[in-house]
Symmetry: C2
Subunit: 299 residues, 2 copies
């Protein structure tokens, strides 16, 4: 029996789908059912449901985007810093293991040696480096709070996407935004992310932090090219083209993006996934995962 | 009718004394009465009591000292960052003004020009400068959240003391600790602090941040000398000496203090109080306030 917090969100919904598909008993808990922030209520819930594992897919991401976190700082701190702490205390009290959906957005760029950031690298896009969005700051503090959690997976997601058109889908965003920012990123295929996080628990790999992105990195221009490629294939085959018939426009620079379109800086970063792979868990390459999502695109 | 949150704490108790003395109607709210973290409960409370002003003296300081905040990070974030945000939202919704007891511990040292830090100076002992205790980090984030509060006083307290022996009293701490750290600080006489904060509201000075310390700064050695001076006066007059008959021992350096006695760095800082004075509110000098507290010392 698995408890799922934040089950109605973009990531939480994918967990629900996974559990239904795998026929794994679970209970999705909303804030209306239980006050997540009250440790004793969470403890009672775990005991009553006899849950053997808990997944926290709840958090505050801001709508329509991360700029909203600059306004709703209290909710952002509550959802991303306090909530993982309360859940850690509750799970520790009852003695069950759990997993927390964290984010790779606590890094920016690549390591000085040109490689992606490993789980051992200290976040470089956080309050402590004073260059971050409020969102990234609260996410990094959340990881600080979990540093000593005894039986906890910290799963870092980055820019989720899949084949379903949705305002939360990275590919949809690229298709809808008036202008795009050129950047290099590691990204996470949503269903692969939830499957692989759950495999961490099923395979009983060691607790701790894991970067869960599709191996490799991809630039905005490369993704746009893949959209154009897929549109061309479909047109050549005489099939419907579900992708927008538009010319993709890019900001001249990050400075222009910041001055025109954003209130707070974005994290763009490359993560290293060898830790996950060392335990026999591997996601498809970023390019394969994107091409596949576009091939199966549902408008 | 004034609402007081955190009324049972060291600062909150002084507010209760002040209101009793001034015969001002107030209600002290404890966490058992109302869930502070639920905005709607705070809104209902303000409406039901028809409060015209609210004082937040609640926060998480750690017991026996700030090192505890390194362990209880969730509670610390909740009490010092989230709580002021929730109260701001509640007071803004109802439209009443309020005051928040903040802390000068978000600074360290003096300004580069040798002066004390003014309310315009950016905190230099915070997560963003990555040199702070978790406590100071959460306090500074709390002030960030209040930056746009429409009708809010942010009152910065530093190292409270008065004439009553208490584990929370700075003078008691100096008398009890086995070894002392030499440092220069601005400090706040507890009763003067609460009186002066309340005068901000009574005199309707502009909302915003105020450093509320006794003007000037004082070193640990100077305070110890004042204790020894007062002990000598009493002995010369044949009166009882309530101060410990001991030789005060000092750490050799801050490095020694950190390696032996502390888990997390302490803020030691000098604050500028001219903003407060420009509105006609003045506290006694640090030296006068300490000598007076020692003269009236109640063991």
């Amino acid at each position: 029996m698995i408890l799922l917090l934040g089950g109605s969100g973009y990531v939480g919904s994918a967990y629900q789908q996974l559990f239904l598909k795998k026929q794994i008993p679970f209970r999705s808990i909303s804030r209306a059912d239980v006050n997540y922030y009250d440790r004793q209520q969470v403890v009672r819930l775990i005991r009553e449901t006899r849950a053997t594992f808990l997944i926290n897919a709840a958090g505050y991401t801001g709508k329509p985007n991360v700029d909203a976190c600059e306004i709703y700082k209290t909710e952002c701190t509550l959802g991303n810093t306090v909530l993982p702490g309360v859940i850690m205390e509750a799970c520790t009290e009852v003695g069950i293991p759990w997993g927390h959906v964290s984010s790779g957005c606590i890094y920016n760029g690549r390591r000085a040696d040109g490689n992606g950031f490993t789980e051992q690298d200290t976040p470089n896009f956080s309050f402590r480096t004073n260059n971050c969005s409020f969102y990234s700051g609260t996410k990094a503090l959340g990881e600080e709070i979990l540093a000593d959690a005894p039986q906890c997976y910290v799963w870092r997601l980055r820019i989720p996407f899949n084949h379903c058109n949705s305002s939360r889908n990275y590919l949809t965003k690229l298709m809808r935004y008036a202008s795009l920012l050129e950047a290099e990123n590691s990204i996470s295929h949503l269903e692969e992310f939830v499957e692989t996080t759950f495999a961490c628990w099923e395979k009983k790999i060691p607790y701790g932090i894991y970067n869960l992105t599709n191996p490799g990195a991809i630039t905005t221009h490369q993704v746009v090219q893949m959209i154009l490629d897929e549109a061309k294939v479909r047109m050549n085959e005489g099939r419907e083209n579900p992708f927008p018939a538009k010319k993709y426009h890019f900001f001249e620079s990050e400075a222009q993006f910041m001055s025109i379109a954003a209130k707070t800086p974005r994290s763009n970063c490359v993560l290293d996934t060898t830790k996950l792979e060392s335990f026999g868990l591997k996601m498809r390459s970023a390019e394969t995962a994107i091409r596949d999502a576009l091939k199966n695109w549902i408008h």
